[in-house]
């Protein structure tokens, strides 16, 4: 019996709703989670469209960012689709955003917490105070999560046939390049 792929199981509803993006969605979700190490990922279909996006944090203090997975050779992306995606994002209510999925692997912070708690349970008296400090850190970390959404920028996750993913930032309007200083 072929073991089930937990990521496929997690994403199945979205993969079936958007077959054009299925392969690129699966690969880019995995890439964002394991390689690029984004947090709080969730994939869903934008309401009123036939396009799936991934939302997540690059850094927890930054707003939620929107990723649009695309296969390299698709011809389905048209100006009207871009306009629709941006206008849907602009009016997307928070109630329409699903809660984050469970991460595919524990994060670094979670591993550190696990190791700290093991040191506590191993009977080290000095770590009693340390675990309290860790709990404070956790609380602070949760308080720093930025739940707003960057509605003006989409990251295009372009997936090739060898599973390479390249990311390009597409901002609405005329935005100065990041590496040009203000004059």
């Amino acid at each position: 019996m072929v073991p089930t792929d937990p990521l496929r199981t997690l994403l199945l509803p979205v993969l079936e709703a958007c077959p054009l993006q299925a392969g690129s969605l699966y690969t880019s979700y995995k890439d964002l989670s394991l390689s690029v190490e984004w947090h709080d990922l969730r994939a869903f279909v934008l309401p009123g469209t036939e396009w799936a996006v991934i939302l997540g944090h690059k850094k927890r203090q930054d707003p939620l960012r929107v990723v649009l997975p695309l296969p390299l050779h698709t011809t389905a992306l048209k100006p009207s689709i871009l306009k629709l995606i941006y206008s849907t994002l602009a009016s997307l209510p928070f109630s329409a955003i699903p809660v984050p999925d469970d991460p595919l692997v524990p994060s670094i912070e979670e591993v550190q917490r696990e190791m700290a708690s093991r040191r506590v349970t191993s009977g080290d008296a000095e770590t009693g105070e340390g675990s309290t400090e860790k709990e404070k850190d956790n609380g602070q970390e949760a308080a720093e999560v930025n739940e707003s959404i960057d509605r003006e920028t989409i990251y295009l996750a372009i997936v090739t046939s060898d599973s390479t993913v390249v990311y390009y930032k597409l901002s609405k309007g005329i935005k100065k390049p990041a590496d040009i200083p203000d004059e």
Binding site: T74, L82, Y168, L170, P177
Partner: protein, 318 residues
Amino acid sequence: MAIDIEPMLASPSSIPIYLINGVGTVWDAQVAATLHCVHGISGLRVGTLPGVSSQNGFLGLPITLMQEETAYLVRQGIAHLVPVNPNPTHSLPTSAEVQKYSAERVRRLRELEASMRDLEVENARKAKAKFTQAGEAAAAKREARARIRAEKAAKGGVELFEPEEPAPTSKPIAKTSLEPLRGTHFHDIAPHPHFPALAHLPSITSLPHPLFPFPSSARDRALLATFTRLLSLDLRVGLGPRFGGEFLVYPGDYLRYHAHYTSQVVVGEEAIRPAEIVAWGRLGTGTKKAGLICCWEEEEGGEEDGVEFYSLEWANFG
């Protein structure tokens, strides 16, 4: 599409752009400066200078304009097109004409120099008069002079008031006889054989025209609409092919700034291929520019202003 070949009269301040083989050209330095400084249109200098070996760095007049620049100027009512006979064998000037043109050119330059000299003299006189009135040193000098006169008068037999210095005669500024650059030409223009009447007023004020068939297609309209919209946002637009784009977009005068964007124009519902996005993004990354995707859609009623802009950069990860 019906082409309007009954041109409207160009306005008195309209700039003539000489149409040679379908390319708009500017041959006058003042016109070039006006277009550059006032209207944000720079064109491309293509004239070679005699005696200068490094031609690439020191090109001069004439200026050739992109088709978008030419159409923009005509449509905005800033310029009109004067078609010139493209067949030089029938319109090469005779040696007598060359001498006559040269003499006229020298005369105009000398008149211009004279008027500038007169203007300098007048300005210097005004500045001096202003200084004389306001200067403390001048006031003290006047008081001292008055004191000396009074002393002399007290000694007797001397005029209380010295004759005033004659006011400097102001030479009237020579009125230049330069013809205004409005709808007439410095020299006679050899008219286009198919449209001989267009060598003089009225000229081409409406586009497209058989001699300048832009904009004709949807892509042409998209290019012109994008160009017009970018200029309306106080951006400057130059040629983009050497950076792999349609236009280069500058935040201001191209003599001051590097381009910030390499633009691509997408017409109507053309597909935007991810492979092209990668190519456009890579083009920008190595050259400190962002890609600018300009999506044009023809509006109902023939309005050409429906342009959506998207800025493209590499995401810096992945």
